[in-house]
């Protein structure tokens, strides 16, 4: 077989010989094939390289005649992975002959040692062809060879992929038809053209056929073409006997030239298709990595990855990832077919052992999907499932490598996302820790102050039982009572806050009358309000609102307490309400000193306390208000009032379907109204 050096530069590893340290010159190369012993070869190469302290490569050469089974492909991929794990650089070359591709590589990379398998062959074959090892040895005289004898096989040139028989028949049929048409044309032109020019028509036909079809049909075209030409156009006409021996030379040249043309053309086609596939894959990989890096959450990332892979491989793709307990679940992509259980079995096997499995492989080949592990580093993070749209279509070795490359991109992106989440969680924890500390220091101050007052007052009462007059006693007792109530409110706010923050509070929303909620808040604050004027301006036709009344009451209590705390006694507080489009706007406004400009947002921050006005509190009240209002789908803000004072406003969405104020329960009244009212007494 005639071989051309055609190793594909794009797949070479990047290091250039001149950029390498001296050890690079003793580099070692392991030539892989699809045989089961290749793993052993890789290990040996790794040991040798380690002993000599040199870089080493694991190289597999893909040739047009080489069609390993999917099992073989899997083995190659596995061997390459093993090589990568053992510290070797893995290289896939594509070329017409293994020998030339390897020799090229050896020269370019300065390889000094080659490890390869010694194929055991029957004696008779050695007479006809020279083994790869011998070929290499003959041409690379300055390279040391290590041959491993055990278990290597000759590549099987006959194991052509199971192509559709119909397609083969079609191709050969087309080739034959081409020759037929050509003969027809030659018949027409025969009276006008010289014999040599007729030869050209046949050669052109062979070129055309080789450009479109595979090597087999084009060689057939060459042979049939020469035969027909000899029969029809070479004297003696319509006979294979030749009138002149000179014609024999013409025919021989024609045969050689046309076979050469068909081989060369098909080779160019192979190269062109390899190059364009290469380009497509590079583009797809680039696309993938670019798209995945812009995605910031798994929810965005996984569908994107699945979209790309399923488009590239014309398959249904799914990604399975383990939950907290290590059980695999479908994380994204097409749901499984009906036989979910058996498919999950394959997925779990892959997740457990980290090898391919499923359709077309040796492991669990009955499955409908092909499964491969997602492994960004040592640890598996999930399984990629691929169910081809056409199950017969094999995944070629090239594609398998490509799929692996895409999968590892996905795996890396997922890992990056996981790490990102971890970092985020750590940050949240740090933030929570910071808040907890702030809370503790603030709370301990706020708890201690009333406790000091209580303990002090109580001890004064104990000590001075006989000396204190009754009005002082009453005053001390009142102080204890007030401070205890303050503590109670503080504890309540703290509990509410932690409940709201931890998301434990579930809104208990019901239709409520806003007037009643405001009334409850006022009733609770009765002792503190004393004779402070409170003006309530709520429209009489205010519709019912769907709220959690206890939480909404807390909002009013906190806003009112805030007003009481920061405004002088006797200044009025106004509670107003308006209905705007789809919203209820409520306001608690005071006539105090107002907010420090710029503080309008800050007041809602945790532990924020305005000024040093002597008022006490943890500074949680407004934060709680904001949490509650936002949980109700509204928003709250603060501002200064024209004419002095602060105003806190918040909105609540007005839901559809509020029970109407003037509607009663007509159907419910029946039968009960007839009863004597006396009966109720």
């Amino acid at each position: 077989m005639d071989n051309q050096p055609s190793a594909d530069a794009a797949r070479r590893p990047s290091p250039r010989p001149e950029a390498q340290p001296p050890e690079a010159h003793g580099r070692l190369l392991a030539c892989l094939d699809s045989s089961p012993a290749a793993g052993q070869l890789v290990r040996t190469a790794a040991r040798l390289a380690e002993a000599a302290r040199v870089e080493w490569f694991a190289v597999y050469v893909e040739t047009p005649d080489d069609h390993p089974t999917l099992e073989g492909q899997e083995r190659i991929a596995k061997t390459l992975r093993l090589a990568a794990q053992l510290g070797g650089q893995t290289v896939m070359l594509s070329g017409f002959s293994r020998r030339d591709a390897i020799l090229d590589f050896v020269r370019e990379q300065g390889v000094a040692k080659i490890v390869l398998g010694q194929v055991s062959r029957p004696v008779w074959r050695r007479w006809f062809s020279v083994s790869l090892a011998d070929q290499l040895r003959r041409r690379a005289k300055d390279v040391d060879f290590y041959l491993m004898a055990a278990g290597f096989q000759e590549p099987h040139p006959r194991s052509v992929p199971r192509r559709d028989a119909w397609l083969l028949v079609r191709d050969y049929g087309l080739a034959a038809t081409g020759v037929g048409l050509c003969t027809g044309l030659a018949m027409i032109l025969f009276p006008y053209l010289a014999l040599t020019n007729l030869v050209m028509i046949y050669l052109l036909t062979v070129v055309l056929i080789a450009a479109v079809l595979d090597q087999g049909p084009s060689i057939l075209a060459s042979l049939v073409g020469v035969a027909v030409f000899a029969y029809c156009f070479v004297p003696q006409y319509y006979s294979f006997s030749l009138a002149n021996t000179e014609y024999a030379i013409t025919l021989a040249v024609m045969l050689i030239v046309s076979i050469l043309i068909s081989r060369l053309t098909s080779r160019i086609r192979y190269q062109a298709s390899a190059a364009s596939q290469q380009e497509r894959q590079t583009a797809a990989l680039y696309d993938m990595s670019r798209n995945l890096t812009t995605k910031l959450s798994l929810a965005e990332l996984l569908p994107e990855a699945i979209e790309q892979i399923s488009r590239t491989f014309d398959s249904q793709v799914a990604i399975l990832m383990p939950d907290g307990a290590g059980k695999l679940h479908l994380s994204a992509g097409k749901a499984f077919p009906d036989d979910y259980g058996s498919e999950m079995l394959v997925a779990n096997w892959v997740y457990r052992y980290g090898h391919f499995a499923g359709l077309g492989t040796k492991t669990l080949p009955k499955a409908r999907g092909f499964y491969l592990p997602l492994r960004p580093s040592q640890e598996l993070i999930g399984v990629l499932r691929l169910e081809p749209a056409h199950p017969h279509k094999m995944i070629a070795l090239r594609s398998l490598r490509f799929l692996e490359a895409l999968a590892s991109q996905v795996a890396l992106a997922i890992e990056r996302e996981h790490l990102h989440q971890q970092t985020h969680q750590t940050q949240v924890q740090i933030e929570a820790e910071r808040l907890r500390n702030a809370l503790l220091s603030s709370v301990s101050h706020d708890l201690r102050t009333p406790l000091t007052v209580i303990a002090g007052s109580a001890s004064s009462l104990l000590e001075g039982e006989n000396s204190l007059d009754s009005s002082t006693k009453a005053e001390l007792t009142q102080t204890i009572y007030d401070e205890a109530n303050r503590l109670d409110r503080l504890v309540h706010n703290l509990l509410e806050m932690s409940r709201l923050q931890s998301g434990q509070t579930k809104l208990n929303r019901e239709w409520h009358v806003m007037e009643e909620v405001v009334g409850c808040a006022l009733a609770q604050l009765e002792p503190q309000l004393q004779d402070r004027p409170v003006v309530i301006q709520l429209p009489a036709d205010l519709p019912l609102v769907r709220i959690d009344a206890l939480l909404m009451e807390r909002v009013f209590i906190n806003l009112l307490e805030n007003a009481i705390k920061y405004t002088p006694e006797q200044t009025p507080v106004t509670i107003s309400g308006w209905i705007t489009q789809q919203e209820l706007l409520l306001e608690v406004a005071d006539r105090g000193p107002g907010l420090v400009p710029g503080d309008e947002e800050l007041v809602f921050e945790k532990f924020y306390q305005a000024g040093s006005g002597g008022a006490r509190g943890v500074g949680l009240g407004l934060t709680i208000c904001r949490s509650i209002i936002e949980a109700h789908g509204g928003h709250i803000w603060a501002a200064n009032r024209p004419g002095g004072g602060a105003t806190f406003r918040f909105t609540l969405p007005l839901d559809e379907g509020a029970p109407l104020l003037d509607k009663t329960l007509p159907e419910l009244q029946k039968g009960h109204l007839d009863e004597s009212p006396r009966a109720a007494h």
């Binding site: 009572y481 205890a484 109530n485 109670d488 309540h492 509990l495 019901e510 239709w511 409520h512 009358v513 007037e515 009643e516 405001v518 009334g519 409850c520 006022l522 009733a523 409170v534 309530i536 709520l538 019912l544 009344a549 206890l550 009451e553 029970p659 104020l661 509607k663 009663t664 329960l665 419910l668 009244q669 039968g671 009960h672 109204l673 009212p677 006396r678 109720a680 007494h681």
Partner: protein, 229 residues
């Protein structure tokens, strides 16, 4: 004879605080630290009123209520922490008469006890009273007339019935479900929004300032109460 109060509460500090205050107010105090002890004391000593803490170590408060209600109509007042509104409602619906939220003052407790005792007493003595008065509010049951001061107020039949139910339970909290059941019947027990609308209308008619009601007091998350005294 002083009314007997049975306190079922496991916290000794709260028992001590009540031991210090109730006897000085003219009540005889019995104490129980567990639900079982409380049930046996209730049977042997026949108290006039029971104060029941909801966080007992040996049994759920609601269980104590159910067992007591099997044979006794003694008023039960629940002592519970804030934020347990659902528990309160469940216990009230199970047969408890009233509740107090911790922390509570003695004044509040005494008012509830008095209201509860008056209701049991009223069952025997005040049956014939046809006129109800509370501050400026006056209801004449014979003539079905309601007055605010000297002004007669016109109530719809439902409003009148609602007010009558609250008067019957004066001073005691009535849960939303109880009110709906007594006024509209058992099929309407979940119609809380309508009840709120009726209460709003009633307040607008009875109260000086409906947003700061004097007579009809809201017990948030639980129900309503007509002011006791």
């Amino acid at each position: 004879m002083n009314p007997r109060v049975l306190l079922i509460e496991d916290d000794p500090r709260i028992r001590r605080f009540l031991r210090a205050s109730l006897p000085t107010q003219g009540y005889e105090l019995l104490e129980a630290g567990t639900g079982h002890e409380g049930l046996s004391l209730a049977a042997s000593q026949v108290p006039d009123i029971i104060l029941l803490d909801l966080g007992l170590p040996d049994m759920e408060g609601i269980e104590v209520i159910r067992r007591l209600r099997e044979w006794s109509q003694t008023p039960i007042i629940i002592l519970s922490a804030r934020g347990q509104e659902r528990d309160k409602v469940v216990n009230l619906d199970a047969g408890a008469d009233d509740y107090l939220t911790k922390p509570f003052g003695v004044g509040e407790l005494l008012a509830r006890i008095r209201a509860a005792l008056r209701r049991t007493g009223a069952g025997e003595e005040d049956k014939g009273a046809d006129i109800f008065t509370l501050d400026k509010l006056r209801v004449d049951f014979d003539r079905r007339q309601v007055f605010r001061g000297e002004v007669e107020i016109h109530l719809t039949p439902i409003e009148y019935k609602l007010l009558s139910v609250l008067i019957r339970h004066q001073g005691k909290v009535v849960t939303h479900r109880q009110l709906l059941k007594e006024v509209w019947g058992p099929s309407s027990m979940e119609q809380h929004p309508y009840l709120r609308i009726f209460i709003l209308n009633l307040r607008r008619k009875l109260e000086d300032d409906p947003t700061r009601p004097h007579y009809l007091i809201t017990e948030p998350g639980v129900g309503y109460r007509l002011r006791g005294e």
